[in-house]
């Protein structure tokens, strides 16, 4: 607690030695520079800044040349060609801005008056291709770690004054810049208030990533399912804004958070819109099937091989039994270990550098997989099924969601070992009830019920653009329609229609 006070509390300063106080506090650090431009003690100016935070280029080119003529601070404010210049005597503000890379300019060392000039050095990576959510066609650009650039990217896509940004600072120590972005007149003001309220209520030392914040403000933090989408795709964010969603951008995080969401939005890839609607639909439905399959394949194997082998017709059963004739373990252990092994390969692949990770995949996937089967520790069929299930789980367009899907199958495998098929359905019914109970910003998470016609237009399916007339109503956008006209295909010009 005391350290915190030292770091933060400017409150206990007495008025008289205000100036001295902030100087003393800051000069404890070795990278803090406090120097005078002239050699005489009485003459201006005194400069203070953090050497590590500023850009010396700007300092030398844009600030120092103006300090030759001994102008007053007010005059300097007018002529120095830097956008953000603040004139203040509030020590709290001075400290705050110095910490962000400002230069503090004083006439005398004891002066309370201070000119703060922004010469911050902000070095970030360039805007580049989104790494986690890649797509074969469509826009590739992804967000980066700097919040202003991210907002710039959004504004470029939605150049309307209705796009509003509410800026906040979160984190006792990290003072992270957080921006809540929404389209005024479309987003439900109740949702905006809820988001702002919940972010204001956050009391935590540091916010390193948007995921910190999103899990702090979500409705049920004990759920496996992410109740917000974190994306680094600009097009997904812009599209979400037009539907009345609210975006939370956190400085230092390339992932922007979209709230409120429904479960099925996690199945939507922006690529769906780059194809013909028929193909887009095919892939979207394929994802539903794949993700459901990946939660059910291994549990089904365990259930059927342990209890209900009668379900499989004799010829097929021969293949199944034949492949695991030499396996000394019960199906449960067999499946469980193989699933764990695949998770390990995946986990190691992520932790290792890209190039090693790739070769590890080959070693883990092919070599170990083959060897395990040859050694008679698992059956061929199971290897295929588990491989299929894992592959299917990666079809989720949102990475966090594919993690959820892969985790869910473990409890279901255990249930299937205990209660067979009954256990599988028990597990699934539990998940269904859980999803029904879940809310995102108080809006139902499972948009399946009550049925809304807009869900058919562009949520469960993706109809042609001429049929997508309305915004999804589950999150109550204030703007109901997204298309005003309705251009159908023109009638073909040929002899048949003449």
């Amino acid at each position: 607690m005391t350290t915190k006070k030292d770091l933060l509390g400017a409150e206990d300063n007495s008025k008289s030695n205000k100036n001295q106080n902030w100087l003393n506090r800051l000069s404890k650090s070795n990278d803090f520079v406090h120097e005078q431009t002239s050699l005489k003690e009485e003459e201006p100016y005194w400069l203070s800044y953090y050497r590590t935070l500023i850009s010396s280029d700007i300092l030398h080119k844009d600030v120092l040349p103006f300090l030759q003529e001994q102008l007053s601070l007010e005059e300097l404010k007018r002529i120095i060609p830097v956008e953000v210049i603040i004139f203040t005597n509030d020590p709290k503000e001075i400290i705050q801005n110095l910490m962000r890379g400002f230069l503090a300019l004083q006439m005398n060392e004891d002066d309370e008056q201070c000119l703060l000039i922004n010469i911050a050095n902000s070095k970030f990576r360039d805007v580049s291709v989104s790494m986690m959510e890649s797509s074969a066609v469509g826009p590739q650009v992804g967000f980066i770690e700097e919040i202003d650039t991210n907002i710039n990217l959004i504004r470029k896509r939605l150049p309307v004054p209705e796009l509003l940004v509410i800026e906040m600072k979160v984190g006792e120590l990290s003072k992270t810049n957080v921006a809540v972005i929404y389209l005024d007149g479309i987003a439900d003001p109740e949702n905006v208030n809820t988001v702002v309220q919940r972010i204001n209520d956050v009391q935590y030392d540091h916010i390193q990533d948007s995921a910190y914040l999103s899990s702090m403000i979500e409705d049920n933090s004990n759920s496996l399912f992410p109740q917000s989408i974190s994306t680094e795709r600009v097009d997904r964010v812009a599209a979400g804004l037009t539907e009345g969603k609210i975006i939370i951008a956190v400085d230092g995080s390339p992932n922007l958070v979209i709230v409120p969401i429904t479960l099925f939005e996690a199945f939507i890839a922006m690529e769906d819109y780059s194809y013909s609607w028929i193909i887009g639909n095919f892939f979207r439905l394929l994802r539903y099937v794949a993700l459901y399959l990946s939660t059910i394949v291994s549990p089904m194997y365990v259930a059927i091989m342990t209890y209900h082998y009668e379900l499989i017709p004799a010829p097929l059963l021969e293949t199944l039994v034949g492949s695991r004739a030499s396996v000394p373990f019960p199906p449960f252990l067999e499946a469980f270990f193989l699933e764990i092994m695949i998770e390990m390969v995946k986990e190691a692949g992520i932790r290792l550098p890209f190039k090693i990770g790739q070769s590890l995949g080959v070693v883990g996937g092919i070599v170990i997989g083959q060897a395990v089967v040859e050694a008679g520790l698992t059956s061929n069929v199971l290897l295929i099924l588990v491989g299929l299930g894992t592959l299917a789980s990666y079809t989720a367009p949102i990475y966090k969601f594919s993690n959820t899907i892969r985790f869910i199958k473990f409890p279901v495998i255990i249930l299937s070992q205990w209660f067979g098929l009954f256990g599988v359905f028990l597990g699934h019914q539990f998940i269904y009830v859980h999803l029904l109970r879940l809310t995102s910003l108080g809006r139902p998470y499972l948009s399946m019920f009550p049925i809304r016609t807009t869900s058919f237009q562009d949520l469960w399916f993706r109809l042609p653009f001429s049929k997508q007339q309305e915004n999804p109503t589950t999150i109550r956008p204030q703007k109901k329609r997204k298309a005003t006209g309705n251009r159908e295909n023109p009638e073909p010009v040929n002899d048949f229609y003449e």
Binding site: Y432, V433, F449
Partner: protein, 361 residues
Amino acid sequence: MQVNKRHQVSPYLVYFIVYNSQVGVGILGFQRTIAAKAGYDAWIGVIVAGCFVQVFIWIMYKLLEKADGDIVDVHSKVFGNILGSVLSFIIMIYYWLASVSVLLGFIEIIQVWMFPTLPSWIICSLILGLVYYCVSGGFRIVVGVSFLSFIFPQIMLIVLYIFPLREAHFTNLLPIMNHSFNDMFDAVKNSMYTLAGTEALLMFYPFIRDAKSSKKFAHLAVLFTTLLYTVSAIVSFTFYSESQIKETIWPELSLIKIIRLSYLERFEYLYISMYLIIVSALLALLLWCSTRGLKRILKKKQKNFLIILSLLSVVISQLINEQFKVVLDKYVTQMNLWIFYGYIPILLIILTILRRRKQNG
């Protein structure tokens, strides 16, 4: 009593709730009980029973509209607080007993068909755990589960009839109407209990937004279930011989056994497992009704009643033996007939007379 608008559901969802309330484990075995006396003519009994249920729905809507609340309100308006509470309490006990009867029926099926050695209390606690999670989410969640219980198992219930129909002998049904009135009446009476469940409306009526417009959905749902049961009866009658059906305990399940695909056979395992979705939805609805009523009568938290009733169900499921099960089913059937087809219409008449008198005097 007015319910917060946030908790209310759209009128069309009544369709799913009523469907859910009617379809339980009954459909797996009612073919035998209705055919016991009326033989192959029993399917007509199902249709007649369906008509009775339609009338019953109409009566319930009249009653609840007049009182503008649930059955607890009706009772306290007609009989005053104390006597009204006692009568409501009996109905809540009926809901609970009905849920126990469904639960025991399902446990029996699981033990006979899938896991002969699995103790009842384990199955019971698993299902009731699920039901607890569901009911504690409020009425909206109960409706959501009803919705799934309509969508998901429809695939099984209807599509799978195609296979036994291939081997159907429709001549079995002929000649039509060659049984006495008494035999037919027996079939109707037995179908009544299979089609029972709509009485849940007496509790969830205030939870429907714009309840008047939900009438047609309730009638449609009853029509659908009546047809479903009739089709199910006809499929069984055309498949089995008359003596066979009188000895098959679960004709529906035995029917499914014949399905063979190149990659899957013995569908009844899948079917019974999937039946969990239907049974848990029905249990959730019944226990929700029961505990909601008890909460209103005794003015305690609904959670407490749910826990107590669930624990009691678990204990009963483990202790009860075959004889008691028969007795319980008999009681529930009798209660259902007398309370809902005898008492409720009388209640409507009393309420109407009371209203008239108030208006006149």
